[in-house]
Every structure is written in structure tokens, then in C-alpha cells.
């Protein structure tokens, strides 16, 4: 299998990254300082993420809004120009095909998808778009995407945009020119911190990336590059799901506690299954747990009740650096989902005590 590389691959190598395969790409899992320092730097200062592996699909044409609104759980008709929303795309069964960020732009709807699901999403959109007056275009190759996150990120960009970046509302976006590169700044991100995601021509990948690091130095902000390991722990603490872990085609938005992302007053594929499930007992439910014994929970470890019966599995497990807990998310039978419920995690040959705790572990700074 051959892996794709982003245009910053050589930069990562030069700057001490450890490269690993991820979703068909070779990406930095960490840099020299390590993921715990990287994680804390984003909570206290600012960090840059190369997330060019993520895909961008543009949906446009006369019927684009009605078409896309029938495929995703959000109500896109409520979005003003330039705004964006988190959404899910479901199978008729309610299982999740992918989770998305969707921007309403002048050129059409920009659907930002997970790297591992790009081909699947594109095929799904194409199949349902047949015979409709819509154009569906994969612009992932030519579009570069980076995230700049942390309490000091907006200040750095404000020093480059005459204070305009800070005026962009959360989940909105604006067009700007930075370092002579035209880009779209979205006031979005997946870390629980304030910050932005930037979209610009792939040929300019390093110019913008290095430009932000250098501008940070100019204004006295140490901007660290952040690898995949810290990206995972940063999204976990505020309770954001990650496809392939909290989300997959077998679990529904209700099991994943994502009902808030479903506009049930609109019609979309999967809605009927979700409505039916609302009337029934859920097969499983996601919980966040903390180990009360010592140990590190890991994905796919089994979850047991105090009598030793199997009740589910760990979807994400880790040491969470900012809240300083050994914790995770697990899919368990719904009767074990209450806060304070004692459960066991099977770690190799031992069972370790854990307790279901309140979500999220970290309240996003912009809420």
C-alpha cells in the first residue's frame, strides 16, 4: 500500500516529527516535545495542525441545498452565507456514514469530510445526486487545510488582519489574504479552544504555515506544531466524537448522544430509523468513564459490570493530559449509562475499576 503525503511532509521531517500511517496518509503523530506538551500548549497558547488529509467536497447547482439537506442531519436552510455547522450523514439504518463540517459559501456548499471516508462520502453523494441539477466536485487535492488553535491564535491572526479575524463569529468564516495567499478563515476547530481552520491553495501550503509560526515569534507567541496524538486527546476532552471510534455505520446518533446534531423537523436519510429508535430502548449508549484503579484504558478493551458480565467496549481510551485522568469513552448497555455507575475495564488479564462520569471533561473555552 502506498501512502499519500501532504505538502508539509518535508517540513515535518525537518522539524523532528515522528511520521505514522493514518487513514491512507503519512502524517506526524508527534514532534520533538511530545504529545503531552503539545496538548497543553494548545490549551494555554497556540498550536498549528496539518490536517490536509481531510477532504473538501463542493456541492453546487440549483437543487444543491434541497439535495444536501436530504442527506445530512443538520438543517442547512438555517445557515447564513459564510456560516458553517457540524452535521452527520446517515444510512437509512441510522448508522453514521461520516461526520462533517458544512460551510455555506458563495461557490456552493463546502463539505469537509474525514480522510478515511472521502471516497465513500463522494460516492454516496454522487449516487444520490444522479438526475438532479447538482454538481458534486471533490476539491481535496487543490485545497490545503490547516488548523490554528488555542487562546493566543486569534491574536496572532488579528495582528495580520488588522483585527478582522477576531470579529468573525464562532462557526462563521471570512475571506482574507495572508502572506499574499487568498484563503478562507473559518472560526472553527476541533480542540475545545478558540481558533480557526484555514483553506487555501495547496501549492501555498508552507508559505502560510511558516508565516503563522514566524508571525507568532514577532508578536511573542510560541506556536507549536501539533501531531495526531495530541489532536486526538484535545478532541476527546471536550467530548467531540472521532469517526472510527465514537462513530461508525453500526452506531446511530442517539447511541452516540448526538441527537443535538439532528434536525428532526427536516427530512433526511436515516431520520425514520432515528425516530423509531426514540420510541425504543437503545441497544447501547456512549459514556465517558474514569479509571479509579490505576491503568490505561485502550480502544476495544471490554467493559464489564461489577459481576463480571460483558456490557460493552471502549471506543476511545487514553491518558487525558489537561484534566490529568486515565479515562475514555465506552459504548455500554443503556442501564449502565448513569453518572456514578461503577463499571470494570478489562486490561489484559486484570479488571480495573472505573466510574461513569459527567461529560464533557473539558468545557470548550468559547461556550
Amino acid at each position: 500500500m502506498s501512502f499519500k503525503r501532504t505538502n508539509l511532509y518535508d517540513w515535518h521531517l525537518k522539524n523532528g516529527a515522528t511520521i505514522v500511517p493514518f487513514a491512507g496518509w503519512e502524517l506526524p503523530i508527534q514532534y520533538k516535545t511530545g504529545p503531552i506538551v503539545e496538548h497543553k500548549a494548545v490549551r494555554t497558547d497556540a498550536g498549528l495542525f496539518d490536517i490536509d488529509h481531510m477532504g473538501q467536497i463542493i456541492v453546487s447547482g440549483d437543487e444543491a441545498t434541497a439535495f444536501l439537506n436530504g442527506l445530512v442531519t443538520a438543517d442547512l436552510t438555517k445557515l447564513d452565507m459564510g456560516n458553517s455547522t457540524y452535521s452527520l450523514m446517515c444510512l437509512p439504518s441510522g448508522g453514521v456514514i461520516d461526520d462533517l463540517f458544512i460551510y455555506r459559501l458563495a461557490k456552493g456548499w463546502m463539505v469537509v469530510v474525514n480522510a478515511s471516508n472521502l471516497e465513500k462520502d463522494y460516492a454516496w453523494l454522487k449516487k444520490h445526486g444522479e438526475g438532479k441539477n447538482v454538481s458534486i466536485e471533490d476539491q481535496s487535492e487543490e485545497t490545503y487545510m490547516i488548523a490554528f488553535q488555542g487562546p493566543k491564535a486569534i491574536g496572532v491572526l488579528d495582528s495580520l488582519t488588522d483585527g478582522r479575524t477576531g470579529k468573525i463569529a464562532r462557526f462563521s468564516s471570512a475571506e482574507e489574504t495572508l502572506f499574499s495567499v487568498d484563503l478562507l478563515i473559518g472560526r472553527t476547530g476541533y480542540t475545545g479552544e478558540d481558533g480557526v481552520e484555514l483553506f487555501y491553495p495547496a501549492s501555498q501550503a508552507e508559505k502560510v504555515w511558516q508565516g503563522i509560526i514566524d508571525q507568532g515569534k514577532t508578536v511573542g507567541v510560541d506556536v507549536l506544531p501539533i501531531g495526531l496524538a495530541a489532536r486526538d486527546s484535545l478532541r476527546f476532552e471536550p467530548g467531540f466524537p472521532l469517526y472510527g471510534h465514537e462513530l461508525n455505520e453500526e452506531k446511530t446518533p442517539l447511541e452516540g448522544r448526538l441527537k443535538w446534531a439532528c434536525a428532526l423537523d427536516t427530512d433526511f436519510i436515516g431520520k425514520d430509523a432515528i425516530l423509531k429508535q426514540l420510541e425504543e430502548e437503545l441497544p447501547s449508549k456512549i459514556v465517558t468513564f474514569e479509571l479509579t484503579d490505576k491503568g490505561v484504558p485502550r480502544e476495544e478493551y471490554r467493559v464489564l459490570n461489577p459481576d463480571g458480565e460483558d456490557i460493552g467496549y471502549v471506543a476511545t481510551g487514553l491518558y487525558a493530559p489537561w484534566v490529568d485522568k486515565y479515562c475514555g469513552n465506552a459504548y455500554v448497555k443503556p442501564e449502565y449509562a448513569k453518572i456514578g455507575t461503577e463499571i470494570l475495564i478489562q486490561i489484559r488479564k486484570k479488571t480495573k475499576k472505573a466510574v461513569v462520569i459527567k461529560r464533557p471533561l473539558y468545557k470548550p473555552s468559547y461556550r
Partner: protein, 127 residues
């Protein structure tokens, strides 16, 4: 990369140092650098193990790494400081990051381990 010249090594990157009638055991500086930030060490039970048995686990941010006992014997002391500061394994792999002390039941098994020179040569060929 640091090497403790007074220790012997396993091909799986554990080190052993003779101190009195006990063996002190840990993972090498090379190993800690490769696995990254250590967040938890599952210390071995104070009991008897046969050479080659998995008896402890070092967990870094991204992986759980089994440790194997290099000589048969009984674990008589574990480094309890690692319970609160597992990252001592990163900062001082040959010193404060030691993992346990072993009373060997067959000390001649030590002769099968790599010398510091041979281990240094081995890791230089790995990178």
C-alpha cells in the same frame, strides 16, 4: 542517546545491572525515546517469574509495551515512585526510571545478555 556501560542488555531493549546480590531492571534510553512519553507503568507483582515471561507493561501515550524478564527469578522490590511519576522512565531511564529489583534464581542466564558495546552497536544499526 545514553548508554549505561555498567549494564547488560536484552535485544528487546531492557537493561539489567548487578547491584550486590540483586539485579536492577529497566528499559533503555533508546527504548524510552522510541515509545515516547510514558503515562503509566504497570509494575510487576513481587513474585517468581521464568526467564522470558511478560511481567510488566510500560504504557506510553500511544502504545502498551510488554516487558520481559531477562533472567529467571523473584521480583523483590518495585519502583513505587513510578506510580506518581511514570515519566521518570523518559527523563532518567538508567537511574530514577528503574522498574524493579530481581533476585535471580539462575544468575548464569546473565551471560546470555548483550554487553553495552554490543547493544550500542545493535541500536546504531536499527536507525
Amino acid at each position: 542517546m545514553k548508554i549505561d556501560k555498567s549494564a547488560k542488555y536484552c535485544k528487546t531493549h531492557e537493561w539489567v545491572r548487578v547491584e550486590g546480590d540483586l539485579l536492577v531492571y529497566g528499559i533503555s534510553d533508546y527504548a524510552q525515546d522510541k515509545i515516547g512519553e510514558v503515562v503509566f507503568v504497570e509494575l510487576p507483582e513481587e513474585e517468581e517469574f521464568a526467564k522470558g515471561e511478560s511481567f510488566s507493561v510500560v504504557e506510553s501515550v500511544k502504545s502498551a509495551n510488554d516487558l520481559y524478564i531477562p533472567v529467571s527469578g523473584t521480583v523483590v522490590e518495585v519502583n513505587e515512585a513510578l506510580e506518581d511519576d511514570p515519566d521518570l522512565v523518559n527523563s532518567d531511564a538508567f537511574g530514577e526510571g528503574w522498574i524493579c529489583k530481581i533476585k535471580a534464581s539462575n544468575p548464569s542466564e546473565l551471560d546470555e545478555l548483550l554487553s553495552a558495546e554490543d547493544y550500542e552497536k545493535m541500536i546504531s544499526e536499527l536507525d
